[in-house]
């Protein structure tokens, strides 16, 4: 018996004021882990049902959007008799800071998990400014 919070319940995005959509499906918010290391930030998103061809990662100004398309794969002749998870697309939007090197962001999909590796810029080392009495 697990905690309620531990259950893999998909969260549907409620606000749809982003863009007019052409696909009549639900959109879910994928669960993500964001890990910051010394020289990079890694974002991992659970998006079951997507592969490398159905994920789009876009970066516009400071806004990083991940979008995963999931196709309904229940054949016509099949009837859903019990449903716990909904089938729909995934979308999540992040704002990234200036310390990310935009040119070197890498995205990788495996087993329905999207992994984004975002290297940080080599920021100049902190510099002390001497304060003089004057």
């Amino acid at each position: 018996m697990a905690d309620k919070s531990k259950e893999m319940q998909k969260k549907e995005i409620e606000k749809t004021d982003l863009v007019e959509r052409t696909r009549a499906t639900k959109i879910y918010n994928p669960d993500v882990d964001i890990i910051e290391g010394k020289d990079r930030i890694v974002v991992i998103a659970d998006m079951p049902g997507v592969n490398e061809n159905s994920v789009e990662v876009t970066l516009e100004d400071n806004v990083l959007t991940i979008y995963g398309r999931v196709d309904w794969d229940v054949p016509e002749r099949m009837k859903l008799t019990h449903a716990e998870y909904g089938i729909g697309d995934y979308q999540r939007i992040f704002t990234i800071s200036g310390e990310i090197n935009r040119e070197k962001i890498q995205a990788n999909v495996k087993d329905g998990v999207l992994k984004l590796v975002m290297p940080k810029n080599n920021m100049p080392k902190m510099k002390k400014i001497a304060v003089k009495a004057g």
Partner: protein, 164 residues
């Protein structure tokens, strides 16, 4: 549903002879929790009730008439870590979603994904051909197709509904 118990630490008092302060409501709650735990453990002795690393993958079941198709969302699980067992009465899916160490010494800003062991068992209400079952893991979704037996198909009978 059990909730994780959060028991505040009893403040240490300097006076050794004094008994630690105990909130009477809290101790009552703990007693009730303990009763529930032993009660629940009676149903499934193998399952630790307080397991915090357990997650509950979602399952969809579809029926084509001849076959039952079960799909499970298991993103990021290695297929070697998935164990599927089917009997004439039930289907059990268990395994482990392992946490990969990506950044040594990295700090988590967000941790929404769930790792750990999972174990789900669903009853099959109809007789199935156990030998004909097949499982496939693709794009983070496990799908299992189990054909029904000829006998089960024959036994399924349509009952006409008549009006007056």
């Amino acid at each position: 549903m059990t909730t994780r118990r959060i028991t505040p630490q009893v403040k240490k008092t300097r006076d050794i002879t004094r008994l630690p302060e105990v909130n009477p409501l809290l101790s009552l709650r703990n007693d009730i929790d303990r009763i529930f735990e032993t009660f629940l453990r009676g149903f499934d002795p193998g399952l630790p009730v307080m397991a915090t690393s357990m997650f509950h993958p979602d399952i969809d079941v579809a029926d084509s008439g001849k076959e039952i198709k079960v799909t499970v969302e298991l993103p990021g699980v290695d297929e070697k870590d998935i164990d599927v067992a089917v009997t004439s009465e039930s289907l059990t899916i268990r395994g482990e979603k392992k946490e990969e160490t990506i950044e040594e010494g990295g700090s988590y800003h967000r941790m929404e994904r769930v790792y750990g062991f999972f174990n789900r068992s669903i009853p099959l209400p109809i007789e199935v051909n156990v030998d004909g079952a097949r499982a496939n893991y693709k794009k983070g979704v496990l799908s299992i197709v189990i054909p029904k037996t000829e006998k089960a198909l024959k036994e399924e009978k349509k009952i006409p509904v008549k009006g007056k």
